[in-house]
């Protein structure tokens, strides 16, 4: 039986790598079944299952929250997203990152006073050390 190499990876880890007799995934335009020697194809995936039929007749399921499916004659590659991605979710994340920067900029006073306190503490410690050294040298 002919088989096709199948790699499922995410940006964070390698999820599956091995030989398969067929790979079934949910593409943006519909369900896809990729058999060996399929024509080169690239498509976006919808959140859903990727089924890998192994050569021994077994089957493995993976849930993907979206991604890209790339097919070449001898290899199928699934580049999965690690998180659920949607336009408004991404935008919310972007807003949060902006807000974070604004917050960091606005509580300048707090951090400044903290830095001042730290500087004063360091100064006090240095003075104490100097005093100690002086006292010791006077004793000898």
């Amino acid at each position: 039986m002919t088989t096709i190499r199948c790699d499922i990876v995410s940006a964070e880890e390698e999820i599956f790598s091995g030989r398969a007799s067929m790979v079934i995934a949910t593409g943006e335009m519909g369900e896809l079944g990729i058999a060996p020697r399929h024509a080169p194809l690239i498509t976006r995936l919808k959140p859903g299952q990727v089924r890998v039929q192994l050569e021994n007749g077994g089957e493995q399921f993976f849930y993907v929250s979206g991604g890209i499916l790339e097919v070449q004659p001898t290899v199928v590659t699934v580049l999965t997203d690690t998180a659920i991605r949607a336009k408004d979710l991404d935008e919310a994340a972007a807003r949060k990152a902006k807000h974070e920067a604004e917050r960091a900029l606005s509580d300048r006073s707090d951090a400044l006073s903290l830095a001042q306190a730290q500087a004063q503490l360091a100064q006090a410690v240095a003075q104490l050390q100097a005093l100690e050294r002086l006292r010791r040298s006077l004793k000898h």
Binding site: E12, E14, T77, T82, D90, A93, E100, A101
Partner: protein, 287 residues
């Protein structure tokens, strides 16, 4: 014996400090390995992405994605700065910031404005004090950063680039070379440098679903995200390596300090004993 007791307390406090630095050193040593593991795991994704981009970029000549096209005039440059959240890692962050300031200074001298996005507490603190425009930031990524944590900041910059508010995008982080050396780097992120792949022997093209433009857009965004993610991992490994080295030298210094303090302590003790003896002898002679 008052002086001797003071020295003894001092020795004890230095010994305590050494315990802490030893512990930090050991913790970092084990974390380096985990960080390297993460780095290795993230590589296949970027490699396969690059391959796909190479194919698509060659296949469709009519649609030119803004990410691939260099702009003639540069009015504003964006920087994504990856730093650590915590200190005690030697000169890691300050070396990076110095390299970065040189780069930023060169742009500003030419009248180009600069936007900065900070990843990590240290960069946020640093750029707050500077006269640059910090547009977004994310901190506290933890020991196992996830791409989901980075989506927001990356999107801010990619949107700015697509809308023409930023004409060039740079990525700055500490490159992990080995445990002993980390190199601060400033890489160009956008426009993407053209992929240099040997053209295949025969012509072929993908079947695109739905169409090349949509797929290319999707792939490029994910690719940029994975590049930034990898930079974060490199920086994480660098952080642990730098901290391990810094803590090792701190422990060594503490050992040296204890040695010299012990010497001083013994001398003081000896002097006190000698003095006591001479006082007794003097007293006995007087009787």
């Amino acid at each position: 014996m008052a002086g001797a007791r003071e020295i003894r307390t001092k020795i004890k406090s230095v010994a305590n400090t050494r315990k802490v630095t030893r512990a930090l050193e050991m913790v970092s040593a084990s974390k380096i390995r985990k960080a390297q593991e993460l780095m290795r795991a993230s590589r296949p994704y970027a490699r396969l992405m690059r391959q796909a981009i190479g194919h698509i970029a060659r296949a469709d000549t009519e649609y030119e994605h803004p990410f691939l096209k260099a702009r003639a005039e540069v009015r504003r440059v964006g920087y994504i700065v990856v730093s650590t959240d915590r200190g005690l890692c030697g000169g890691l962050n300050s070396n990076l910031f110095r390299t970065l300031l040189n780069d930023i200074g060169a742009w500003q001298a030419r009248g180009v404005e600069v936007d900065v996005i900070c990843i990590g507490q240290k960069a946020t603190q640093f750029f707050r004090r500077l006269n640059v425009n910090m547009v977004a930031s994310v901190t506290h990524l933890g020991e196992k950063p996830q791409i989901a944590q980075l989506i927001g900041v990356i999107k801010v910059m990619l949107d700015a680039y697509t809308e023409g508010r930023v004409d060039r995008l740079m990525l700055s982080y500490n490159d992990f070379i080995n445990t002993m050396s980390q190199k601060p780097v400033v890489d160009a992120l956008l426009p993407l440098p053209p992929t240099e792949e040997a053209p295949s022997a025969y012509n072929w093209d993908y079947i695109y679903e739905p169409d090349p433009a949509t797929v290319l857009d999707h792939v490029l965004t994910r690719y940029i995200e994975s590049l930034v993610y990898q930079a974060v991992l490199e920086n994480l490994a660098s952080e642990h390596a730098a901290r391990m080295v810094a803590m090792k030298s701190a422990s060594d210094n503490a050992t040296k300090a204890i040695d010299s303090l012990t010497l001083v302590y013994n001398k003081a003790r000896q002097a006190a004993i000698t003095q006591e003896i001479s006082e007794i002898v003097g007293g006995a002679a007087a009787v």
